[in-house]
């Protein structure tokens, strides 16, 4: 390299410079809430393995205002994560071809949203019904 006196700009605070980067960081932040939820489910399984009293205590915690507040945040994070995941997923999969023609990204995105809505309805029916 030539000994040019070039200037390199710092990266500090790059994620605040552009709305796209803010959205990206929020997407990455959803991981903290989803990890908390995985921990919550694991706590439920542990309670279940310890018997009815432990499980009742777990259910009591779930009904507390603290838990409801936390789950509101987790729910927002889960929905935002799903939204970003479905929208970007065509970029991370090999092109899908039907009858020699590439399925448009839009079709892949929309069918995932539909699938997620279907899962939502089926799981609600399974939990509430019977």
């Amino acid at each position: 390299m030539t000994a040019r006196n070039t200037y390199v700009r710092p990266m500090t605070g790059w994620y605040r410079r552009n709305p796209h980067f803010v959205a990206y960081m929020l997407r990455e932040l959803t991981a903290v809430f989803l990890a908390a939820y995985a921990g919550m489910l694991l706590a439920g399984v542990i309670a279940l393995s310890r018997g009815p009293e432990a499980y009742a205590a777990f259910q009591e915690f779930l009904a507390s205002p603290l838990s409801v507040g936390l789950h509101v945040l987790i729910f927002i994070a889960a929905v935002y994560n799903a939204y970003t995941w479905f929208r970007i997923s065509p970029k991370a999969m090999p092109p899908i071809k039907l009858a020699g023609k590439r399925v448009p990204d839009r079709v892949i995105v929309v069918s995932q949203f539909a699938g997620c809505a279907g899962v939502f309805i089926v799981m609600l029916l399974l939990a509430g019904g019977l």
């Binding site: 070039t6 552009n18 796209h20 090999p94």
Partner: protein, 251 residues
């Protein structure tokens, strides 16, 4: 002339011989419906300050020379128009994540080395003699790589990529798109020569799918898709090498 307005253009200045860091300088530039950002800069150079340094060539979004940060967004300055920013003002900076040589001109050496490293040409195990004619390809085979061949090396995607900014060992969007363009070409037989780069930490694994590269690309190359499809390829290569005798790179 009914349509003759004026707009303030704030330009980043840096003189490597006298300055320790860049500063901003504002110029007032007349414009009309047809004045591109590049023409605004040319007006400054021709009429206000001849020392303003910037790159440009074709003026019609083909050569990829005139990329700048316009109000923080990487753009081809010939393809952006002053009218879109009026009555606000413009802040023009050199492309992000590259060292500034002078004013709006950046040092592209790092990208050029990366471009060469992906071997962006058709590799044949054995060249066919001319007498046997050209390498044929169906329209479907061409469709597999065509969008990735539209890259004009304008570097907007590198300026849109925080991962490249954070660690410029990352090969980056355009070079990986061109790598994919040749790997996906039915006439090419050089995939095994390019996979070691794809598989490396400096290859596709520096990417966290921010996705902004695809948004700023002026040629709809969709570099994020090229990079992330190669994460799938690299993952297959990683696990399949245990199953195939040649280490999987040709799979």
């Amino acid at each position: 002339m009914p349509d003759r307005r004026e707009i303030d253009i704030e330009v980043m200045r840096y003189n490597p011989e006298t300055d320790s860091e860049p500063h901003m300088q504002t110029f007032r530039v007349p414009f009309d419906e047809d004045t591109s950002v590049l023409m605004g800069l040319q007006y400054i150079k021709d009429h206000l300050d001849g020392s303003l340094t910037f790159r440009w060539s074709c003026r019609m979004a083909v050569c990829g020379s005139c990329g700048k940060m316009v109000n923080g967004v990487p753009k081809l300055s010939c393809k952006a128009f002053l009218r879109a920013y009026y009555p606000g003002k413009l802040r023009i900076e050199p492309l992000e994540h590259f060292p500034i040589v002078r004013d709006l001109a950046v040092d592209q050496t790092d990208f050029l080395e990366k471009l060469e490293a992906v071997k962006p040409w058709i590799i044949r195990k054995e060249e066919k003699p001319l007498s046997e004619g050209t390498y044929l390809q169906t329209p479907e085979e061409m469709a597999d790589y065509q969008q990735f061949s539209s890259c004009i090396n304008c570097l907007l995607c590198y300026s849109a990529c925080p991962q490249y900014g954070l660690d410029n060992a990352f090969t980056g969007p355009a070079a990986l798109s061109l790598l994919h363009r040749y790997n996906a070409d039915s006439r090419d037989e050089g995939k095994s020569e390019r996979m070691p780069l794809v598989n490396s930490e400096e290859g596709v694994w520096g990417c966290t799918l921010v996705g902004y590269c695809s948004e700023v690309c002026p040629k709809q190359v969709d570099p994020a898709a090229a990079v992330n499809r190669n994460k799938v390829n690299s993952t297959m290569d990683y696990f399949l090498r245990f199953l195939t005798p040649r280490g999987g790179v040709d799979s």
